[in-house]
Symmetry: C2
């Protein structure tokens, strides 16, 4: 195939101009001695095309020889879409997002899309991301899993946005969202503790303004009511979803006159802080206090004691949100709030939960 290479060389001056040294569709066309449009059709397997096999061969060979890679900018410009989706997360450091990312990536890849990640914890994220990424033509749609979004987000921010779906936040306005069944997950945690015989159960709740925190707390309250158990004074502590938040809040719970015998934490990261607080306060887990955390992650089984958790279908959440987004991009109507109910939340019981001491 030196012939082909030679042609490239002859035309080198022009090809060398290209973005990054690659060869263009035009180069392939010349090498295969056909019109660029034919190359385009062959390379994209245009169904409305019956091309002579030998021509197709020539084209494919030339493309392979030249290491042709289509330029997404040119294609995006012509098609008015990039096959790229964006996923906005508040922090790459948070283990909870790992599974969501994997699920979204899988669904995107399956549909022939590329997924790019953007990090932003900002409340204004939706709006500016929409500007920068969608209007800017970088992505066709946006998955938004940013943490601080909540119902009281200024409505004007969300006006006229399209091709966005929110993950696990309910936001007043027109943007559809996919949410996991946090109420049920938290209820499972309570049921697990009740099943072990606990009655003095406290809740390490998340920040007031975070929708998931609200829903988990609601699940806690429902389950306590269902078990006919009182929620004692001071038994609900609101704290940020990080180690420090869990630590401080737990110290407060442990300082109560009537200490809880079990704590249900709405976040695994906060639970890690809670565990540290128990150790620091000289309170043994699970002997004196049982601890269970919302969301599972690898680290749970490597803590001491290993941490009981509520597994949630995060991978599936990422997948489902992506599929909905693709439908939306496709111009279809999608429901404004969808709850993911299928793989149900389930308790992964490890060493941090046990019956209360007599």
């Amino acid at each position: 195939m030196l012939v082909v290479l030679d042609q490239v060389a002859i035309d080198g001056v022009r090809s060398a101009q290209r973005s990054s040294g690659g060869s263009s569709l035009l180069d392939v066309a010349r090498a295969a001695q056909v019109d660029p449009s034919t190359v385009s059709r062959v390379l994209r397997d245009d169904p409305a095309l019956r091309v002579r096999p030998t021509t197709r061969e020539r084209i494919l060979a030339a493309a392979a020889e030249l290491g042709y890679v289509p330029n997404v900018n040119a294609r995006g410009l012509a098609l008015r879409r990039t096959t790229t989706l964006g996923l906005i997360i508040p922090s790459t450091a948070n283990i909870v997002y790992e599974q969501i990312i994997k699920g979204a990536e899988a669904a995107a890849r399956q549909a022939g899309y590329v997924l790019v990640l953007a990090e932003s914890a900002d409340v204004g994220a939706v709006d500016s991301a929409h500007r920068e990424l969608i209007l800017g033509g970088r992505v066709d749609g946006l998955l938004i899993a940013s943490g601080t979004l909540h119902e009281s987000l200024p409505p004007p921010l969300l006006n006229g946005l399209t091709n966005c779906v929110i993950l696990n936040r309910r936001i007043r306005g027109s943007l559809p969202s996919i949410i996991e069944d946090d109420e049920r997950g938290m209820a499972r945690a309570v049921e697990h503790l009740v099943g072990l015989g606990h009655t003095r159960i406290a809740c390490l709740a998340g920040p007031d303004e975070v929708d998931t925190a609200t829903r988990r707390l609601a699940g806690f309250k429902q389950a306590m009511r269902a078990a006919a158990l009182p929620i004692r004074r001071g038994y609900v502590e609101r704290a940020s979803f990080d180690e420090a938040g869990g630590y401080e809040a737990t110290l407060k719970l442990l300082a109560l006159a009537r200490q809880p015998t079990a704590i249900a934490a709405s976040s695994i990261v906060a639970a890690i802080g809670a565990l540290a607080a128990c150790h620091a306060a000289g309170v043994t887990v699970p002997e004196e206090v049982s601890l269970i955390a919302f969301h599972d992650a690898t680290i749970a089984q490597y803590l001491t004691p290993s941490l009981s958790t509520i597994w949630m279908p995060l991978f599936e959440l990422g997948e489902m949100a992506t599929r909905q987004l693709l439908l939306m991009i496709d111009g279809q109507e999608i429901p404004s709030v969808q709850r993911l109910e299928d793989p149900e939340p389930r308790v992964i019981s490890r060493a941090s939960t046990a019956p209360p001491r007599r």
Copy 2:
């Protein structure tokens, strides 16, 4: 400014065609009654341009009114560059990458670039990412922090690649890399342990084929030699850089006839596994065994006991790599291997290290 809006409405048919409902430079030009090229110049602050203030005003007002956002595809096509950089990491879940990402992001943003993240642990990552991302025109350059890269990577893979820099891996071939001083970091860990009086020090080393693991082990050996301490049989365990790897390897170390009194782990994630293994084996930390880990992270202070670590300049690594990449994109020659020496590695001493028991 209803006038402007009216004009848009009149021209709505055409503007509506645009990628995602936004308005184009042409729309702005019409609204401001000037030529598109003038709009382009004004909006990009073309230095070689002295425009009449009133014209500029009109243009800026029109752009604001229309919510104009430039289309990156069109711009990328015209300029043959995208002002976007890619960062390839093996896993978003690994806490070690958090700081690298932040550093790269900061440096990219400062230069007016956008950073996108791609997840790939694959050895072929460099090659396929170069194809997909650089040749495809998605990004102008690539930061590669993929974990399994190593010196024995098939050289042909790296041929002709450009605008890539490798983070913290030395790779035979032409790709420049920025590395942190892992030898020194690990030496600091050993010195810390020696300073506490330890002599039976083991090393939880990383996988053979990972360059950073090799360098950290080298640092361990040098420091042991410098302290005139022997490395006993079985005192170097190679394990994967994850909790499970650290767990298993530590069990082996603890099963040795002559148990080490201290363990230097080449990875904080492996160290979490090591801590779990000590607890499981009933070995107290730091009383019976001291433990120190390479790389610091928030979780270190929330483990029990809190984990002593070696802080490494990861943020700066991300920053520096990005700056080098930008130089490379700019056509400048950059050194093939650069070692980041400035913020020095330092020991963060917490509760997991203490003098050995008498």
